[in-house]
């Protein structure tokens, strides 16, 4: 018996090693980025590439921080992301829940109305939306950066799927107990949707953190730049330089918060996708 157990855990370990190798290969571009961020521009392109840097230099990071004004950009990205997330998660959850749990006239029309926007590449809306945002006086502001993403067809769709899984009996019994509809949502449905919100949250955060096209249009001053814009600024300036040695550490800085958040909430996210009605 002992040898059987031993051989099984030995196999497990080998399997883990194999998968670790696979994961390493898949993740190698990311690892390369981190490693290259500590090396000078001359060394990055030396072949063979040194995965473990010969001299670790924080010079690049300092450069990126100063020239790219990454500190300011980080602050902007964080503000805009938080702002967008708060509205996005709440509004989409509420809408998805209401659509699925109530019957009303034009319900199917409503569903089509919302889901049809999934087919539209949002980029083509940006020019007219810019004029809209301008007339609200929101150009070059955090709110202006976030507002086109408050609702999304995908967000409502996802929330609809998750809300479907809430048993109607629970809602009914709350009603019989005399709870108002709003109370039912906030006290009962919302807690049940927690993992769904986590799932949508990480997707939405990952999106808005890296969002570039709209930010590029609505940001007018240096101080409002978000991280993706700063990255592009580092990539090409009018003196034609490609400051790749600053671009790489800036990319790493831009990547880190999302990675961290993901690793912390990984379990919730995966479990929520698992426990959802993704099956259909």
């Amino acid at each position: 018996m002992n040898t059987q157990k031993a051989s099984r855990s030995w196999l497990d370990f080998v399997y883990l090693l194999g998968m670790a190798a696979v994961a390493f290969v898949l993740l190698s571009p990311v690892i390369w980025l981190v490693s290259a961020s500590f090396q000078g521009p001359g060394e990055i392109f030396k072949v063979p590439f040194r995965w473990i840097p010969q001299h670790i230099s924080l010079e690049n990071y300092k450069n990126a921080w100063e020239v790219g004004q990454i500190g300011r950009a980080l602050w902007n990205s964080v503000s805009v992301s938080v702002l967008m997330l708060v509205f996005h998660l709440f509004l989409n959850a509420f809408s998805g829940y209401v659509i699925v749990k109530y019957s009303f006239k034009f319900k199917s029309l409503m569903i089509v109305f919302v889901l049809a926007t999934l087919m539209l590449p949002q980029e083509i809306t940006f020019l007219p939306v810019y004029n809209l945002v301008k007339s609200f006086g929101l150009v070059d502001s955090h709110l202006g950066l976030a507002i086109p993403f408050f609702y999304s067809g995908f967000g409502v769709f996802l929330m609809m799927q998750f809300a479907r899984a809430i048993p109607d009996e629970i809602l009914e019994s709350a009603r019989i107990d005399g709870c108002s509809e709003y109370r039912i949502f906030f006290r009962i449905a919302l807690p049940l949707l927690k993992s769904a919100i986590a799932a949508l949250g990480i997707m939405a955060f990952s999106f808005i953190w890296n969002e570039y096209a709209w930010a590029n249009i609505v940001v007018l001053s240096d101080q409002m730049r978000t991280l993706p814009i700063s990255l592009t600024f580092l990539a090409k300036s009018s003196d034609n330089s490609v400051k790749i040695s600053a671009l790489i550490p800036a990319s790493v800085i831009a990547m880190t918060p999302v990675m961290l958040l993901f690793f912390i909430f990984q379990r919730q996210f995966v479990e929520s996708v698992a426990s959802s009605g993704v099956k259909g």
Binding site: G42, N131, N216, S221, D222, T232, D239, S241, V242
Partner: protein
């Protein structure tokens, strides 16, 4: 409630359709641009307006990078109660990001007073920026500008912008590689370069880690390829910019010369890796500008700098770099705008910013030279000083009559230099498309 719902929705849709049919200058909802500053009367403000309170709006790519913080300070000395509001749009490849930003601003009816651009000819032709010939010609720096610089700011004899931060490419050469090939001096003509290339190929020179060595590289986009075209006697456009000459016999010969370099293995195929090969010590002669010197030093390349070699035509012309500053037609502060621009090309500004030199005379300034000696760019700068006397405006990088021409031309170049296609056929086809586009654009 329900009805309200439906009405609201259809009202929005209806509003959308009607406003989209564009009124005045808009393609969408009109935002009311707040009028900036005092006098709404005609163009220039009354004579003694230096104490006026107003806001000068400048649209550029980067506050610090364009030296606008320095310029603002200097501007406030003349206009103590004025504010300078800077809208930045980054730069992007070929200035696209900034251009897009300006287009969006203009289409929304908002106009800045001063704008940075390399598409001045395009905007001038569309009537969006002012003719500032009289003002600029009276400036003292005007006579010191080279032909190439004036090329950038003039269309049909009219001045529409002021050139700024002029630069150009020149020759970087790897002394070690040249020494290995048996040459002690940098090539003075393209024939010299061909000789070096042959020698390198014969000796099958390689770097320490076994990588092939090339004589030169065509990376760098139009910066690089324009030079080769002109050096060999080719031309991009007729002098009135009405027809392209990329399919003329001389031009075709020039492109063939370039293609031969690739076919012989003297230059690698372009793949967007820009200066990586140079920094890795695989390129003998590299045509680039000041911006690559720090990386060159960092990569420990034993580099020398010199003006470009002469081609078979006896010319070594390169495209004139830099940007231009223009005054928008809708500006209500034209005099102040011009004053701001004048500051940008003043000696004081150039000395303060130390990198944004427009006045060629300043290349001899001891203060600037000292800074250049300190950061190792002195030799390069001296080469650039000479080279800047031989520059020309290159139409096909930012064609103002038919923007697609740039794409068509670059695709053709790629076909020749990467795909090894037949030079005559490819260029003839591209020329046909470009000429057709220009003709259509001129008629509308």
């Amino acid at each position: 409630m329900k009805k309200l719902f439906g009405i609201a929705a259809s009202a929005i849709l209806l509003a959308g359709v009607t406003t989209a049919c564009g009124s005045s200058n808009n393609g969408g909802l009109t935002g009311t641009p707040a009028p900036s500053g005092a006098s709404a009367s005609a163009e220039s403000s009354p004579a003694d307006s230096t104490n006026d309170k107003f806001t000068l709006k400048v649209i550029a790519s980067d506050l610090k990078g364009d030296g606008l913080d320095v310029a603002t300070e200097m501007f406030k000395q003349k206009y103590p109660n004025a504010e300078v509001q800077v809208v930045t749009g980054g730069w992007g490849s070929g200035g696209q990001d900034l251009r897009n930003k300006q287009l969006i601003q203009l289409s929304g009816g908002e106009s800045a007073d001063v704008g940075k651009m390399i598409w001045g000819k395009e905007f001038f032709r569309s009537g969006v920026i002012d003719d500032i010939t009289d003002a600029v010609k009276s400036w003292e720096i005007y006579d010191r500008l080279s032909d190439g610089q004036k090329d950038r700011m003039t269309l049909d004899g009219k001045v529409y912008g002021v050139t700024f931060s002029s630069n150009t490419v020149y020759m970087f050469y790897n002394k070690d590689i040249l020494a290995q090939a048996g040459f002690t001096e940098a090539p003075k003509t393209l024939d010299d370069l061909a000789a070096i290339a042959k020698k390198i190929k014969e000796a099958n020179l390689q770097t320490a880690d076994g990588k092939p060595i090339y004589a030169t590289s065509f990376e760098g986009g139009n910066w690089a390829t324009d030079y080769w075209l002109w050096a060999n006697g080719g031309k991009q456009m007729t002098d009135d910019y009405s027809k392209t000459l990329i399919d003329s016999p001389e031009s075709i010969q020039a492109y063939q010369f370039m293609q031969d370099f690739v076919t012989n293995g003297w230059a690698p195929k372009i793949d967007g890796s820009y200066d990586q090969l140079w920094l890795n010590g695989q390129v003998a002669v590299w045509f680039c500008g000041d911006w690559d010197i720090p990386a060159t030093i960092n990569a420990n390349i034993n580099a020398g700098y010199a003006p470009m070699p002469q081609g078979s035509s006896g010319l070594n012309t390169t495209s004139v770099g830099g940007v231009e500053w223009a005054v928008f037609k809708q500006s209500k502060r034209k005099k102040e705008a011009l004053d701001f621009i004048e500051i940008l090309v003043s000696k004081e500004f150039q000395l303060k910013t130390q990198g944004l030199t427009t006045d060629l005379a300043l290349y001899d300034d001891p203060e600037l030279q000292a800074t250049w000696k300190a950061d190792g760019t002195f030799e390069g700068r001296m080469a650039e000083k000479v080279q800047l006397q031989n520059t020309k405006y290159n139409f096909l990088e930012a064609p103002f009559l038919f923007p697609d021409a740039s794409k068509i031309y670059n695709a053709a170049l790629e076909k020749i230099l990467i795909g090894g296609a037949d030079v005559t056929a490819t260029m003839k086809e591209a020329a046909e498309q470009i000429n057709k586009g220009i003709a259509e654009a001129s008629n509308s």
